[in-house]
């Protein structure tokens, strides 16, 4: 619960900072360019400060209402949930780094294999078959058929 309150404080603080930045940046712009950022920035800053105060005071549970959105699964061991959340974010970031380093064509099958084998603990056969499917989709559909211009990985630019 304490973590969630900290996150609420963080998101409110971040929003307030963003609104403040928008207002400060708009000072250098001509009136017409600055009008919309200012019209939006002022209420955003005020509401974000209000949300920040309410979050700091933990005024929440009774009158929180209900967001029209899904909620993360509850009832899991908090330690397990936290570890899995951190792990999946690291995998997502890792996939991005693989794309930067190797380019899409290699990064996609590599990521599918690594994730299935090490995060999913799947068998060799299934991991290799689905890695091949990923590579075929990448190469056949996106490269050969649709000719999407994928950026080369950094590692390949070293040879040029």
């Amino acid at each position: 619960m304490k973590n969630v309150v900290n996150l609420r404080v963080a998101i409110a603080l971040g929003t307030a900072a963003l609104a403040a930045y928008a207002l400060v940046a708009s000072l250098d712009w001509p009136f017409r360019t600055a009008l919309f950022p200012r019209v939006l920035g002022v209420p955003l800053l005020l509401l974000a400060i209000l949300e920040l105060i309410l979050s700091l005071m933990s005024v929440d549970t009774g009158r929180a209402g209900h967001a029209v959105d899904f909620a993360m699964t509850e009832g899991l061991d908090p330690e397990v949930a936290r570890n899995r959340t951190v792990a999946i974010f690291l995998w997502i970031l890792g996939f991005f780094i693989l794309i930067l380093v190797f380019g899409f064509t290699l990064a996609v099958p590599l990521f599918v294999f690594l994730y299935m084998k090490f995060a999913g603990d799947e068998g060799w056969a299934l991991s290799l078959i689905l890695t091949a499917v990923a590579w075929l989709t990448m190469e056949g559909l996106f490269n050969r058929l649709l000719h999407i211009p994928f950026a080369d990985g950094w590692i390949f630019s070293l040879w040029r």
Binding site: W29, A64, A67, M72, F150
Partner: protein, 502 residues
């Protein structure tokens, strides 16, 4: 005219035209399923293939493809929580929540049948509107379009949920979305706003990586956190036989489906608004249809009405968008602009000729939209229950493929690595919003409407000064804005005494 209407059907049913349409439907089916690979990109890719076709064949092929993209985009949104198309993101909120409850088949059935109803309403609208649309479109200048954007923004109050704190967060999210829409070159003076010296940001943030990040990442994190399949360990009784239930839901809430279809058609007619707006306004209207606060709390948790509204609107808008394109040569969206190119490739100039010389061709387009959607929904219904079983596949197998599609989908919007950074940043923001109880729908609504509102506001001021505020349609839309904002509060006040008396 009736003769041309019937003749339009016969030309579409000629075997070579029909085969071209089927090829288009096949392509559109897969394009819709793949996140990020938009209908407009595929339309552009397919343009070179129409040189050797007759006009009827060319439009059967292109419209057959384009008409079903939103329909199958809903399938990806429901099953994986990743928007198959930018226009199918709203379906995720309740559709994917239903999939997680073991009701993927029902959600898919509802999405597809409402899409079919929407497409038929849009096509019917196109057929009816062609002769009378001129005064309507001419009535809507920049001031009216600005006010329409304001009406859309007012739906934030409906999308925020009940309770003062939820409303506060809803408005915060909406304002954030409006602010994100301002990134890029200012449309008035060309001044760079919030671009941090990055060329990539000059054109503003692209909708696709923003949507894919906001919606896909929290779902992927939730799936990884649970360590199970999408449908989890729940009893799977409804999974295999739910599609028919979803079809019946469309007719149980037929009034809502029709109203949302009309919303979609109307927004489609208005140049520059598009499906990104239609789906969220339709979703907002679906939330408004909740009769009690308890019912309202079901939205976002898997209420089938949250699937029906956007499903109907994002298909009906296609028929609507064709109206100004065909009648005046004014494309209402990027897809329609590409389709306009197809007209010129075929040596046809859109305009009065389409209502006279080429009337049969115009009606063949109406029939193509209708038949393409009927074929797609009929074929999909056969495989829906099998598709629904994907929600039983282990997360460890699904996650790498969902991430693959999410990254590719984001990248293909501009073919730029910056899209991936935007995807990651908005993914993190989406996760934070979910954890902190901030609704994402108002943010998206603000984001899609922000630039439309700003552009039309300045055109209105430049063209009319303050006089635009007193135009009759503007005044009507102002009243409508107040009604949309106050409706949830009025509804709540009306219910409380009733509940107290019970």
């Amino acid at each position: 005219m009736f003769d041309a209407f019937i003749q339009g059907l016969f030309v579409v049913l000629q075997w070579h035209t029909f085969v071209f349409m089927l090829v288009g439907i096949f392509l559109g089916f897969w394009v819709g399923l793949l996140p990020g690979l938009g209908g407009s990109t595929t339309l552009a890719l397919m343009l070179p293939f129409i040189y050797r076709m007759t006009p009827v064949e060319a439009f059967a092929f292109l419209l057959g493809m384009h008409a079903v993209v939103s329909t199958t985009g809903d399938i990806t949104s429901v099953l994986f929580g990743v928007p198959g198309e930018g226009t199918t993101a709203a379906t995720i909120l309740d559709g994917h929540a239903m999939a997680k409850r073991g009701e993927a088949g029902r959600a898919l059935g509802a999405a597809l049948m409402s899409s079919l109803v929407g497409a038929l309403v849009g096509a019917f609208g196109l057929a009816l509107a062609v002769p009378v649309v001129r005064p309507l479109v001419l009535t809507f200048g920049a001031p009216e379009l600005f006010m329409l954007a304001v009406v859309g923004i007012a739906f934030i109050s409906s999308l925020s949920g009940g309770g003062g704190r939820s409303l506060l967060r809803g408005f915060l999210a909406g304002l954030l979305g409006l602010l994100f829409a301002l990134v890029g070159q200012d449309p008035q003076a060309g001044v760079q706003r919030f671009t941090f010296g990055q060329l990539y940001l000059w054109g503003g943030l692209d909708l696709v990586p923003v949507l894919v990040g906001l919606f896909a990442v929290p779902e992927i994190v939730d799936l990884a956190m649970r360590g199970s399949s999408i449908a989890g360990e729940l009893p799977q009784g409804n999974l295999g036989r739910g599609a028919w239930e979803g079809v019946k839901d469309t007719f149980r809430h037929f009034g809502l489906t029709i109203r949302c279809s009309l919303v979609g058609t109307f927004i489609g007619i208005m140049p520059g608004l598009g499906g990104g707006v239609a789906q969220w306004i339709a979703y907002g209207h679906s939330v408004q249809s909740a009769r009690t606060p308890a019912e309202r709390e079901g939205f976002g948790k898997g209420d089938v009405r949250g699937v029906l509204g956007p499903g109907a609107a994002n298909n009906s808008k296609e028929g609507g968008a064709l109206i100004p394109t065909v009648a005046f040569g004014v494309p209402g969206s990027s897809s329609m602009a590409i389709l306009l190119g197809a007209f010129f490739l075929q040596g046809i100039t859109p305009g009065p000729d389409m209502l006279d010389k080429y009337l049969t061709l115009t009606f063949s387009m109406v029939w193509t939209i209708a038949i393409a959607n009927i074929v797609t929904v009929a074929v999909s219904l056969f495989v829906l229950n099998q598709l629904a079983k994907l929600t039983l596949v282990r997360g460890s197998i699904l996650i790498p493929f969902i991430l693959f599609l999410a990254f590719i989908g984001s990248y293909t919007s501009n073919n730029h690595l910056g899209d991936l950074v935007v995807f990651l940043l908005f993914g993190a923001l989406g996760y934070l919003m979910i954890r902190c109880g901030w609704p994402r729908a108002p943010l998206v609504l603000g984001f899609v409407l922000g630039r439309i509102a700003e552009n039309n506001f300045y055109i209105s001021m430049t063209r009319y000064g303050n006089a635009w505020l007193f135009r009759p349609v503007v005044l009507i839309l102002m009243v409508l804005t107040v009604v949309v904002i106050l409706y949830p509060f009025l509804q709540l006040r009306k219910r409380i005494p009733v509940e107290e008396s019970v």
